[in-house]
Amino acid sequence: MPGGNDYTYRDGDTMENLIEVECLKHIYPDKTEVSVCGLHFTAKKGERVTILGPNGAGKTTLLYHILGLLKPVEGKVSVMGLEPFKQFNELRKNIGVVFQNVDEQIIGPRVYDDIAFTPRSDGYSKERVDEMIRDISQRLGIEELLNKIPHYLSSGQKKKVALAGALVMTPKLLILDEPFDALDSKSKREMIDILNGVNKEHGTTIITTTHDINIVPYIADTIYILNSGSIVAKGNTQEVFSQSELIKDANLETPILSELFTRLRDRGFEVSIPYTLDDAERNILKIIQKP
């Protein structure tokens, strides 16, 4: 898998927060209460943030609040200085979203119509829409799909179509709920490349959720661990991965590379713990090439 850890954001960075969330509570119509509390959640401009947690931890609830889809009963959400639930229309133009079940977000009867949905609804000219769609479909490599009917596509292709629809307006903030779910490993790699490319090129802030810990080092500058409605950890890959107790508590598997290299260390090899495949390769070469 490609690396991509070019950015490191630290607490106390002077950059302004794009998103700030403080201890939220929401009550669903069937009276279920959901809260997301614990550490403050923040995301800066151009930052890649991953929310890691088991199913039902509250990841989607947190995203829905950021998107303005839920009204917090308690707590505060601020996105680009606005209140998402109240200032939904101003915000939505700056946000691109890919939900977990992309079938639910694809509207257009053909791939072209779906990607064109937002620009057309916003009143862009036909020529401009054509141009936008040409650009984004080239970037994602889905030009041949434009005339296809979405439900006959593979899940990887559907995700790409949904992503194209989210990226077509070049949003400042891109939010993806479980983008790697149900993808084969090739599609996962492609997805990682696309996301990192967009982040690098446009400085797009990207927020992803996942329960797949091994993918995190490739897509995140900052990781939050969410466990039963509480943010229990925050930091970069190294900081978070070293808290193995927290990871176990959250019912997440331990990152496979950390586990492997911890064992090597226990056997007396002098290695540092890698988080990406590239680092691991380097570390192993070091061991092998040692005289």
Partner: protein, 237 residues
């Protein structure tokens, strides 16, 4: 339902009919339908059905595969045929021929033209809300059919389906439908939110710039006119 089967034929077909414009196909279909409906004798109807069958061959549609769909109208028309039988068996046959002919004509249209294109022709004269409901129904159908399949599988695995226990089946079906409808309703709430996020303004914009008009399109329309004229004028044999 056989939506997937028909989609496959209409989307992946590469005959001259598949390549021609949607509007011309709709016009041809309408003209043939009118011809069938106003025909009163077996000769004309046989002729019209033959034309439709020839068009199936032109469209490279395997008639065996979709022919069974024309059996429903055949079956239901039998009832009316029996009612008319007191006027002679010819009257009965005319009814069955009309039913089957009309159904085959519709099938010809939907096996050579993807739904989406048929709907986009609708959008030329129907209110956008109706077209949106068509599109939403078509999309939802697949999502729900998938869910229903999963539900059915899980019910079978849990042993909830017993062919001879009607009451039990009934309960299972009711609770299955209940679950499905609640789930679907919750899904529709999510969909609405997502649509809002994507800038949904109350209508789904679709491409209506239908394929450029070609010679084939003129030919199809012309053929339709000739068929209708041929049906209307008296023939002397």
């Amino acid at each position: 339902m056989h939506i997937a089967e028909i989609d496959n034929l209409s989307l992946n077909g590469n005959s001259i009919l598949h390549k021609s414009g949607t509007i011309s196909k709709v016009i041809l279909t309408l003209l043939i339908l009118i011809s069938i409906i106003i025909s009163k004798d077996l000769y004309r109807l046989s002729g019209l059905i033959s034309i439709v069958l020839v068009l199936f061959v032109v469209g490279k549609i395997p008639i065996v595969q979709i022919g069974h769909l024309a059996l429903y109208p055949a079956l239901f028309s039998v009832f009316f045929a029996v009612l008319s039988a007191q006027q002679g068996w010819v009257a009965g046959l005319v009814i069955i021929f009309k039913a089957v002919g009309a159904a085959l004509t519709m099938l010809l249209l939907i096996t050579t033209t993807p739904y989406v294109d048929v709907f986009s022709v609708f959008s030329l004269f129907m209110p956008s809300l109706i077209v949106d409901i068509f599109l939403m129904t078509y999309r939802s159908f697949f999502i729900i059919a998938d869910r229903l399949n999963n539900l059915l599988t899980s019910i079978r695995l849990k042993g909830g389906y017993k062919p001879w226990q009607i009451v039990l089946n009934f309960k299972t079906i009711a609770s299955m439908l209940g679950t499905l409808i609640i789930q679907s309703f919750e899904m529709s709430e999510r969909m609405y939110k997502i649509y809002e996020l994507r800038g949904y303004s109350g209508r789904i914009p679709i491409r209506t710039d239908l394929k450029p008009v070609s010679k084939i399109d003129f030919l199809l329309c012309l053929a339709g006119m000739i068929i209708l004229t041929g049906t209307v004028i008296p023939w002397k044999i």
